[in-house]
Assembly symmetry: C2
Homo-oligomer: 206 residues x 2
């Protein structure tokens, strides 16, 4: 029997995951949490599970799920299966780098979810079919000339922030932001922040 913990701040999604898990004869939900703090507290308090189903947007949105994933993996040995509705390539990579055992989208078929849970419980890597496809297509086209930091800056630029605001948001100097932006414009072949934002939107880099 595989003991599963659900960690998702959406009640509806939690109920959905529970429904899927409960209909599998070989697994059961042993705990539900809606915040990252609760999850860690439960685990620290002696909670035991074979797999944790974690929402990428779990808890604080800015941490992504990566921080929560990392915390769980570092402090406990429980495999973390990230389940999310959407997510960029960068999100997926971040989660995997943080130690997630698997990653799949919520629109994955029920059986795929169940299979992933079993794989994760067995310590195997379990990536959803579409996640695999995306990672592969990414390797084929290194469209991501942009470094992680540059992409971060680009996102804020596209959100309309000024260099100064971005600098404060990222805890760096304006000079650094300008430096990143210069590299972004070079790599994208753009002439200005606004044009870079437009191109980024078109290419789905956000």
């Amino acid at each position: 029997m595989i003991d599963v913990v659900l960690a998702d701040d959406h009640p509806v999604v939690r109920a959905g995951l529970r429904a899927v898990v409960d209909t599998q004869p070989d697994m059961r939900v042993v705990h539900e949490t809606s915040t990252a703090e609760d999850l860690l507290a439960w685990l620290d308090g002696g909670g035991r599970a074979d797999v944790i189903l974690l929402d990428l947007r779990f808890g604080d949105a800015r941490m992504g799920g990566a921080a929560a994933t990392g915390a769980v993996v570092r402090r406990h040995r429980t495999p973390v299966l990230v389940v999310t509705t959407y997510g960029t390539d960068a999100d997926i990579l971040a989660a995997i780098e943080a130690g997630a055992t698997g990653y799949l989208l919520k629109d994955a078929p029920t059986e795929e979810l169940a299979r992933a849970v079993r794989s994760a419980a067995a310590g195997e890597v379990a990536l959803g079919a579409d996640v695999q496809r995306r990672l592969l297509s990414r390797l084929r086209t290194p469209a991501e000339n942009l470094s992680g930091r540059e992409l971060e800056v680009l996102r804020l630029v596209a959100a309309g922030r000024s260099n100064d605001a971005i600098a404060r948001e990222l805890f760096v100097s304006v000079a650094t932001v300008k430096s990143h932006l210069a590299h972004i414009n070079t790599k994208l072949g753009t002439q200005s922040r606004t044009e870079a934002a437009a191109v980024a939107r078109d290419r789905g880099m956000l």
Copy 2:
């Protein structure tokens, strides 16, 4: 007894919605569909329901849920409650204009969802708390007072053009473009061209 139809292409979300509905004593799920075509076919084939829970991203992503909502509302009288994970102001407005009875985000509490279903079944409007907040904040900042020319400029700004390029494109002087842009920033409450572009995108003004 309120008969509910679930229309969502995410198996997990469907299961979650079903779990919520089934735990309410006064409602039940009578049908589930994963495509807009199936939903319409079921309704056309004599299917009866009191409320349809429809995912905004239901079916073809480009149609949004608005097209599906419109089709259902026009051909049948069933109240449609749009339930989605995310969505811009424009998405919400489009759904409501298409005839949706209500709109709420998937992270709404279980009771809020149940309440919304009862309201929708009774023919009342049911907007999620956060949806209401967003619509109100939008009304506070009058968006659509942009003149035709200003909107034209805004579009080019969002496309990443410089003032000079816009001026040449519209056969006016740079001063005029700057003048329009100044008015745009005033009306949108923005501080820069890039921020104006971001806001315009969010509000679906492009």
